[in-house]
């Protein structure tokens, strides 16, 4: 999962950021800052990326819009259709079927039961509880990782001896596969394990980490540990896009570090961080490996997050129809706030570079 998001990140920040990560000390050569925010829309609208690459997208818009070679979208569009749209509609169709191990063999002719699965998902299953758990845990983890990531990025912005090493070390949690992270933490959190005995030396009783109410916080803690470098990476790419002249100008104006950070640097970070927030939230909500390996199934009721619930419904109870309905309901529930968020931070709006102001 982590490699995927790294790819997304690269795609999102475009070739500019990629180049900068490679030769981070030559920040002065950073191309037009427009590249970051407008390219950010690349994840939602792949077609608009060529416009973001240009130096002055706004002025060239008229021309490029007149002769846009839209047909070039066909291969990509076709793939999207096959890989995303068809399964999505199949999923919606499945959610209206009474599809289980008894009907799987001829699944197309499984009994059609309309909205029954949706009714059961909403009234007679832990779905809403799971949505609440997923969203709240994702949000808490996100709110904690944001300052951590920014602080780490700011701390490694200026050159110092051993910076490259520190930067590499910061990325370790992000590079490790989720499975490994979860296995290691699971071992450390065992009753009488490393964590408990470490707390014991301070006279504290850690309690149960892998069962009971505390599991919720265990999940958040491990998620934070695993995902803050992602924020760090995006914050770093944002910092790289700050022109050398801007530093000079603020220095000439006599701005001290906090004012400079608050009024000069942070506005540059707004775009990348808004994007990081979005991608991060989606990753947390969809993170299956971490809770699955940490707690196993059946999961303690306090960490029965969405992916675990859909997994158990599909592959332990074999209620494929019901779990498709659950997945669809949660998709809608999560899509609404995301849509509002997208409008609010204007990430989906190529004309208004979100990172600028």
């Amino acid at each position: 999962m982590s490699t995927d998001s790294f790819r997304e990140l690269k795609a999102a920040t475009g070739p500019a950021a990629e180049g900068q990560l490679a030769r981070s000390s030559t920040a002065g050569q950073a191309p037009d800052a427009d590249a970051t925010p407008s390219a950010g829309t690349g994840t939602t609208q792949p077609g608009s990326r060529p416009a973001g690459r240009g130096k002055k997208p706004v002025r060239r818009k008229g021309l490029s819009e007149r002769n846009r070679p839209l047909w070039m979208l066909i291969p990509g569009g076709l793939l999207m259709f096959v890989i995303i749209v068809i399964p999505l509609f199949l999923g919606i169709y499945m959610s209206a079927l009474n599809l289980d191990q008894y009907t799987l063999r001829k699944w197309v002719s499984a009994p059609f039961i309309g909205v029954d699965n949706f009714v059961e998902a909403l009234t007679d299953s832990p779905l809403l509880h799971s949505v609440w758990l997923s969203v709240s845990y994702s949000l808490i983890a996100m709110v904690v990782t944001l300052p951590l990531g920014i602080a780490a990025a700011v701390a490694t912005q200026n050159a110092f001896k051993g910076r490259a090493l520190i930067r590499s070390i910061f990325l370790i949690p992000y590079v490790l596969p989720s499975f490994v992270v979860a296995t290691v933490w699971r071992t450390m959190f065992q009753p009488d394990g490393v964590v408990d005995s470490a707390l014991g030396t301070f006279g504290m009783d850690g309690g149960l980490w892998l069962n009971g109410p505390q599991t919720y916080w265990t999940l958040i803690l491990v998620q934070i540990w695993a995902s803050w470098p992602f924020i760090y990476l995006l914050a770093l790419s944002g910092l790289q896009s700050v022109d050398h002249e801007v530093h000079e100008a603020s220095a000439l104006d006599g701005a001290l570090w906090w004012n400079k950070l608050r009024y000069v640097i942070f506005p540059y970070l707004k775009g990348p961080l808004a994007l990081a927030f979005l991608i991060g939230m989606l990753h947390h909500i969809n993170n299956f490996t971490l809770p699955f390996v940490l707690f196993g199934v059946p999961a303690p009721a306090d960490v029965e997050v969405l992916p675990i619930l859909t997994y158990v419904t599909s592959f332990q109870s074999f209620r494929f129809g019901l779990s498709a309905a659950m997945a669809f309901v949660s998709l809608v529930l999560i899509a609404i706030p995301l849509f509002i968020y997208l409008r609010a931070v204007k990430l989906d709006d190529a004309e208004t570079p979100g990172g600028k102001k």
């Binding site: 799987l104 009488d192 394990g193 199934v297 997994y311 109870s317 494929f320």
Partner: protein, 452 residues
């Protein structure tokens, strides 16, 4: 076990699944009793679990069997392996939906009812049974989970993997115990004698966080008290016998204090490790697969296996089928796909691998108990005797497609009780409400099974 980037796809993708007690085998070698099948120029496709413990030997075995099969029928065999239960379920799902794929599958026993419910595998007729060497060649107990009744069987037993307990001979002798316990009450008494918290020695080693063990205890104690859990279309999980079983199982930790308190975080392998270090009198719910580990440990030569108790807690003798419920019926079955175009060839292959000779050969290489009755009876290693005995005293879990859900419900009661276990006692009301919850979910699942 990746989850797709969006929740919607999760349900769509036909990946994954637990419930399988993975592993599987395929068998080997020839005795040419079966009717000659001419398979010249044909190729049989066999899907079986990868053996992580003996990967090299497994490759050798594939080659060996393929050669013998060729000699017998003239056909080739193509072995495919799956690495996990997930892989297997994916293969089964795609094959079932598309109607093409391997001819022969290996299935874990507890997954057989679910597979049977898909109706994608051949239910053997009398004729078919003859082609695999006759029903009589198998250990009759092993047939218990091949189908819903004697006339409708799809699973052909290949190996048995019954559950037994191991005991530390030195610790038992030191505590003045002559014979391993045969009732659960006696087991707790003996465990108390061996427990010495000062030295970190405990009477029993078992993992409360294991994904399978807890429900097997509850199932065994309930069945031995006369409650089969599933009675026709009714689930009996709200029965007092089930509650008593949980109380006994939890009581080892909270009341008798004969289990290491850390066991609330243990899986079965942690329990094996504790036993292997000589810190436990009994190792519960283990199989012959623990032999290689234990023989390399500090207690090599100092342990033995025994059949687990068959008398329910609080009782003096087994009730109902209790004396036949020393273990769940566990092992691997092979099934033939309904869509297969070469079923006779498939049966000839199964006839080959379930022959006495090949079953003994397989036992020698991989340590798995034969499902072939003659082969089982001819085992002479005294260490394996109790395990062979347990194979004869294994009782099938209820044959219903709802069993996966019921098993999950039984396990879930333990999972949700672990915080209470850590605090030293499980509240009576909480236990009852968890049981009630499991009962209603399991009953709903049974109702669905009855309808289809």
């Amino acid at each position: 076990m990746r989850f797709t980037p969006s929740a919607k796809l999760a349900a769509v993708l036909a990946t994954a699944a637990l419930a399988l007690t993975a592993c599987g085998g395929s068998g080997s070698s020839s005795d040419s009793t079966g009717g000659a099948v001419d398979g010249a120029g044909k190729k049989l496709s066999v899907l079986t679990g990868v053996n992580n413990q003996y990967p090299e030997q497994q490759k050798e075995w594939f080659k060996d069997i393929a050669a013998k099969f060729k000699a017998k029928t003239g056909a080739d065999i193509e072995f495919e392996t799956f690495a996990s239960a997930n892989d297997e379920l994916t293969r089964i799902q795609t094959s079932v939906v598309s109607g093409q794929g391997p001819d022969v599958y290996s299935l874990g026993t507890t997954f057989t009812p679910t597979a049977y419910a898909t109706k994608a595998f051949v239910t053997l007729s009398e004729e078919d049974w003859k082609k695999v060497g006759g029903k009589d060649r198998f250990n009759q107990a092993a047939l218990g989970i091949s189908g819903p009744d004697a006339e409708h069987m799809a699973g052909i037993p290949f190996v048995s993997r019954p559950f037994v307990m191991a005991y530390n001979k030195d610790l038992l002798t030191a505590a003045g115990i002559e014979k391993p316990a045969t009732t659960w009450d006696e087991l707790a008494e003996q465990a108390k004698k061996m427990t010495n918290a000062g030295t970190g020695t405990f009477g029993l080693a078992t993992g409360y966080k294991d994904n399978f063990d807890p429900w097997k205890f509850i199932w065994a104690m309930s069945v031995q008290a006369g409650n089969p859990l599933v009675d026709g279309t009714n689930l009996k999980m709200d029965d007092p016998t089930v509650k008593k079983a949980y109380e006994t199982y939890f009581g080892w930790l909270t009341k008798d204090k004969v289990v290491d308190p850390a066991a609330i975080g243990w899986s079965n392998s942690n329990a094996v490790a504790a036993f292997a270090s000589g810190k436990a009198g009994y190792l519960m719910m283990t199989t012959s697969s623990s032999v290689p580990t234990l023989d390399k440990s500090a207690i090599a030569g100092k342990y033995a296996y025994s059949v687990m108790p068959t008398t329910a807690p609080g009782e003096t003798a087994p009730k109902g089928d209790g004396d036949k419920a020393a273990s769940i019926l566990s092992g691997d079955n092979v099934v033939v796909a309904d869509y297969s175009q070469q079923k006779d060839l498939a049966f000839a292959y199964i006839e080959l691998i379930t022959s006495k000779e090949e079953q003994l050969n397989y036992q020698k290489i991989f340590g798995e108990l034969p499902a072939n009755a003659e082969a089982l009876a001819s085992l002479t290693d005294p260490k394996l005797q109790p395990i062979a005995e347990a194979a004869g005293k294994s009782k099938a879990t209820p044959f219903t497609g709802a069993w996966g859900d019921i098993q999950l419900g039984l396990l879930n009661v333990t999972v949700q009780s672990i915080p209470d276990l850590a605090n030293g006692s499980v509240d009576d009301g909480a236990l009852e409400s968890r049981l009630k919850d499991a009962q209603s979910k399991g009953q709903a699942s049974l109702d669905r099974a009855a309808k289809s």
